[in-house]
């Protein structure tokens, strides 16, 4: 899923400075699952913003609504009635797709992102998420024992490990495990040296972000 985290409250406050009526829009997709932008987080942020305004004696209404997903126009449409009430600002609590879809659907509204979109990853434990994919567009994890060196190696090298890892930890930080250590150990431990031995070719990065913004068109689905 896409892992996000809420922006610092100061930054969000700066978005709504001087505004009186704000709509906070959550998303029941990835950001609910990663505890960043579901109903609960919407509720908490709304309360914080209200408190902030109340303490200064400012008038502020914060309405809350959580969409099934902000990355599909049909769900974004559901906001139409609410939006027509007239808000000074719409705060999206989704990944960065959300504010863009809201902006496109409601072009006259001022839409702000309340979350920072961090990476594609999964939960390692309650409250801990880690990057597992870089959306390189050409998945090769099967070659690496089910581990992705592209997203999980600091250098994204294809023939690791480099000399910088020790005790299975990447040189850049003790918090970063060396995925190449995991890959190599796995092959060695399982007697699959033959799979480790081949030189992996220089990666074709053309399908990754480096190749420019990407789009998928499924002709058989397109009406």
């Amino acid at each position: 899923m896409i892992i996000c985290e809420r922006k610092p409250i100061d930054e969000i406050k700066s978005f709504i400075d001087g505004k009186k009526k704000v709509l906070l829009v959550g998303c029941r997709g990835c950001v609910t699952v990663c505890n960043a932008g579901g109903t609960k987080e919407v509720e908490i942020l709304a309360a914080l913003l209200r408190l902030d305004a109340q303490k200064d004696g400012k008038e502020l209404t914060v309405d809350e609504f959580t969409l099934e997903r902000q990355c599909d126009p049909e769900y974004v449409d559901e906001l139409a009635d609410l939006v027509s009430k007239g808000y000074d600002a719409i705060l999206s609590m989704a990944c960065s797709v959300g504010p863009q879809f809201l902006s496109r659907r409601y072009p006259k509204e001022r839409v702000y992102p309340s979350l920072n979109t961090c990476f594609i990853g999964g939960a390692l434990a309650h409250g801990v998420w880690a990057e597992h994919c870089q959306a390189c567009g050409n998945c090769v994890i099967h070659i690496y024992g089910g581990l992705c060196p592209v997203s999980r190696c600091s250098k994204s090298i294809m023939n690791g490990p480099c000399g910088g890892s020790s005790n299975g930890v990447c040189e850049i930080s003790k918090e970063v495990e060396c995925v190449w250590h995991l890959i190599a150990s796995k092959f060695m431990d399982e007697g699959r040296l033959a799979e480790f031995a081949p030189i992996q070719p220089i990666k074709d990065w053309s399908k990754s972000r480096d190749g420019g913004p990407r789009k998928i068109v499924r002709e058989e689905l397109v009406k």
Partner: protein
Amino acid sequence: MSDFEPKIIAFCCQYCAYNAADTAGSMRLQYTPNVEIVLIPCSGRFDVILALKALESGADGVYVAGCLEGGCHFLDGNIRARKRVVYLQNELKKIGLEPERLAMVNVSASQGPQFAAYVDEFAGVVKGLGPSPIKKHLAA
């Protein structure tokens, strides 16, 4: 400000803190009437929205009272509660509200005296802070 009577909401877990409050009662320990207790099954049930709502409604202070660390009837509800309290304290600080208006305390069921002492201590802190700015504007 000396005649300021703060309104404080205390979320007390049923196994220890609420029990401690009862113990304080059966010992007839006298403490400030500024605190009103809301029973929750475990301090782990403490939800940041409860504190936010209390503050929004105009409470001058909120605290959560759970079992002693290591003594939670549900293992770690009190640890989680404390983390949530710390989280919310930071958020309050960021929006310019005194984080001291929110607190967490641990007491065992038999610690009636400690409970009573804490009530007075926390009420003292809140008194020192003065009325919640939210209440001020609510009244206006």
